[in-house]
Each structure stands twice: as structure tokens, then as C-alpha cells.
Symmetry: C2
Subunit: 308 residues, 2 copies
Amino acid sequence: MALNSAGYEVIHAAIRDLSDAELVDIDIIYGVDEFLNDILLHILELPNHKLKWLQVVSAGVNYLPLKELQAAGVQVTNASGVKAKPIAQTVMAFLLSFARALNTYEHIHTWNEQTDQYLIDELHIAVFGTGNIGKQVATYLNAFGADVIGISRSGRTSPEFMANYKIDDAPDALAKHKIDVVINTLPGTDETRHYFDDAFFTAQPLFAFINVGRGSTVAQRDLITALQDGQVRFAGLDVTSPEPLPDDNALWTFENVILTQHTSWGEHANKGRRFGKTDLFDIFFANAPTFITNQTLVKNAVDLTKGY
Amino acid sequence: MALNSAGYEVIHAAIRDLSDAELVDIDIIYGVDEFLNDILLHILELPNHKLKWLQVVSAGVNYLPLKELQAAGVQVTNASGVKAKPIAQTVMAFLLSFARALNTYEHIHTWNEQTDQYLIDELHIAVFGTGNIGKQVATYLNAFGADVIGISRSGRTSPEFMANYKIDDAPDALAKHKIDVVINTLPGTDETRHYFDDAFFTAQPLFAFINVGRGSTVAQRDLITALQDGQVRFAGLDVTSPEPLPDDNALWTFENVILTQHTSWGEHANKGRRFGKTDLFDIFFANAPTFITNQTLVKNAVDLTKGY
């Protein structure tokens, strides 16, 4: 591959088996996940380490030692987009399960017709975060004829949404569009921490709150209160805080909550693997030529200050 | 309305409150459901009854006394199409719930990552019945990039499907397309009775079997065996036989079966009602002018011999 001909040696190794003499020689790590922070910090402390680029397996990078990486001039590329389809399909699974009352029927073991189903087209939906995942969610929702607004930091217009708003204008937008479903795809940053709190949940009753962003975006005690009070009728949570969620957490006890345990990225072709063989390579290979030439990364580069 | 000016009297009545003198005078009944058979048979036995047209609230009409109606020259229009969207959305809810493992996670109350999700795009899907519901299902599936074949009595080509087959050629078609999801929308007729039997289920393992047609199309004991043997991994059943399904039926005991109790027609706008105010009227009003002129029905007329 291009890296070989540029003089790089490509090895496939369990990084914990490498000696300091080997670690200090690493330029690039491909396939970084949330379990390598100790090794990363150790490498950064080695004098004359060469670490310059991490390709991580996830869209969110909030688990990384971002400040230390930035201080050391290490660049990071994420997997944003690779998992947009499976994650968006899990969002649709949550929403349809609630709207068509499957989640309700799962807990009824006798004939007892319920007739409070919704069409997706009857719901007013806000997607927080208009990146790859948010856009894919909106694309699927549009196929069902739903009205979907997008909310993001910039408020930039995107054709998948009937309207776009800045997150600062979200309260007004939710009221104006009579939003009854909130789908969160926001990354975990200092800015988004506990954004979905008591004030948010008491502002309007929600048919459904769905979170495939990060658990840290939700003040989880406030969500539990909102579920108890009926302010939130159904919740679909792929992410929680903490993860793993302890067995004694109240979220396990609600019949109107589905917890998918941070697996919404899954697809059968990648069963048992954290990422696909091809998709993540595509990002890596898009970046390799410019990295070799001048150490710049053109695709999926993370802004380490913003954290996404 | 047109009926008034043509000399018909339009009354809104609980039919059980009417006297024989009133029943014998009825030309048309709008809003027939499965609970009126005794009244219908009683009317047909009244000398000089005028009954000529029934507008029923359902797509399927297998519950009606078809032979007696046909012998008496009574025409029937069904509600086919009116419920295509809600029913197709329930189909999508079943399939996504299984594919994204929500149904699996519903029964796990501790952190235990499962990683055998499917993308809808990874499944090979056959829709039995290519009427309004089957086409709407295929339209939604196409938005997810799935490969969908259609199977019907005629095998007539329809653009929603990548290929169409006659039901006689279904076994070969299922093998050729490596079908792992079967979605049934077939009506309940003598021809379709117990079509999905042991021979069907043993021919190929299925990831999912979804039935929104009629319970009578399935040899239910054979489906239960297939679920026990793992030949069918998940089943989403809106219809069963009988309905209501008795509490001691084995189907209630499977964690990989969701029973929605013949409510897939539900939408919030019609909460608590058996049919929408507007949609069924549209069918009725499309037929009223020709019925008045020459007693022919142009939209949703049921072939009483075929039973659909």
C-alpha cells in the first residue's frame, strides 16, 4: 500500500504487547477505541515518541484524552458516517416500536387490544445534531412523510430537514413546530453536557425521547423524573451514563424504556467486530496520501478543541 | 348528498335497534364489520328485502357470509388501501425491532452487549400479496435499500418490487433470492388457508416471519414448531387463529414473538374508532354515483367468489 512505498512499516499488533522501544516508533494508530487511553497517555510521555495520527473506530471521541493529544500535536480522524445507516435504523426501530405500540404489546400476554398507535406521519420530530447520523435519520423519516426539523450549533440549512435552527433557538422551535419526538445525535462535549435536563423536559410533553448521541448530553435523573411524571411517554436509549449502566439503575425498570446498550452501530456483516473491514479503511485511505505528503488529513478530521 | 337527491333516505342508526319493517327497507349498509353477520343473514331471510350494497370497514372480508350475499345479489366494497399506511408501518416496526435487536434487549435487564444486529439492507425480503398493503410495505423497504420480491396469485409485475412471481413459483423464488424475511399480506381465502405450513417453514430458515394478512393463512402449530426448532428466528404477528388468541396459546410464551392483536390498522387520528372519518367515505362516495345510476360499483368492489 501507499504507506509501505512511502517508507512506513505496517504492522498488525495487540498494542499492549509492544515494548516502549516499539511504541516510541509509532506514527499512526489505526483502530483506536475507548480502551486505549492508558497506552496513548503512556506513548505521549515517552521522549521522542512519533505519534501523529489516530484513526478511531467511533464517531464520538469524547473518551479520548483530547487536551493531551492536542498539546502533543496528534491529529485524530473519526468514523463519522461509517455508522450512520445502522444507527439511523436503530432510531427508526425505536420510533416505530413506540408509535406502532410494539413496545406496549411486548408486555401484554393476554388479548387486550390497544388502539393508541401513531403513524410516523402524525408525529412532529426534532433531530438534534445534523451531521451524518442526523441527516440519515431525517432521510428515513422523510420516506414516511414525517415533518422533521434539524437543530445544530450553526443552524445551517440542510435539505433533509423542513427547517433548521440553531441550538440557542431550540426552545422556540420546539414550541412552534409542536414537537413531540426528540431524537438526539449530539456528540458529548462540555457544551452539550446535561443539555437535556429538567428545564428541557418540563417545557413540553414528549411522545418519545430517543438518544443515540452520548449519555452525557442527558441529565439522567431528570429524564427518569420526566418518565415517572409522564412528561416523556417512551424513551429509546442507546447511550446512558455511565456505561455499562449499573443493574440498580431505575432505567432498567421502565416498561416504556428500551436500552440497546450502545450497540446501534451493529450490522450483521460486522458481527462481533467493532467496525467494518471496508468502511473505516475508506476513511483511512482517503487521508493516507495527504498525510504522507504533508501530514494533513482531509476526511473526518476531528477538531480537538470542539471535541467532534 | 347525492343519495338524498336520488331519493334515498340516509339514517345513522344502531342496526340492532331497527325493526324488521325498517331492516327490510335498507338498500345500503355503510360501516359493516365482523360483528353483524347475524343481522345480515336475518335481513337476507326477510321477504322482499332490498339489500344491495355493503361497505365494510376492513380490507379482508373473509368473516362475511359470502355465499349467502352472492346468492342474494348483494355487492360488497372493502376498505382496501385505507389502512395500507398504518399496517405497513407496523410491518416496518416488526422488522426493525427484530433487525436492530430491540426485541432482544426488551428482555435483558442488565448490561450485556449483543452484536447481532442486521441492517434492513442486509436482508432478502419476500412480500406475499402485492395489493395496497404489500406495495406500501415494499415502498418503505425500498427507502432502506432492501431487496424486495413480490409474490401474488397473478405474478403481475409491479414497480415497487425488484421481481414478481406467481405464488405457484414461490418455492423456487424464495430459494433463488435467498429469502430470509417473509412478510404476509395475503387475504384469508380457501386458497390461502394454511399456506404457511410445515413444508413452507422447513424449506428455508427465516430470520423473520411477519403476518399482517389473516391468521388462517398460517398452520399455526407448524409455525410454533418452526419457532421452537429455530427455523423461524423472530415472528411478528398482527393476526392469529383464533382471535382473540386464548391465554394458554404457546405463542404468548415466546420472547422472539410479538403479537399486536390485530391492531396494525391503528392511527392516532382515529384513536378508539374502527375506521377513519374521511378515508372510508372517499371509497363510498367514489361508488355512490354509479350505484345510483345502474347499481354498479367502481372502486374496491369485492369478488365474492374469490373472497377479496
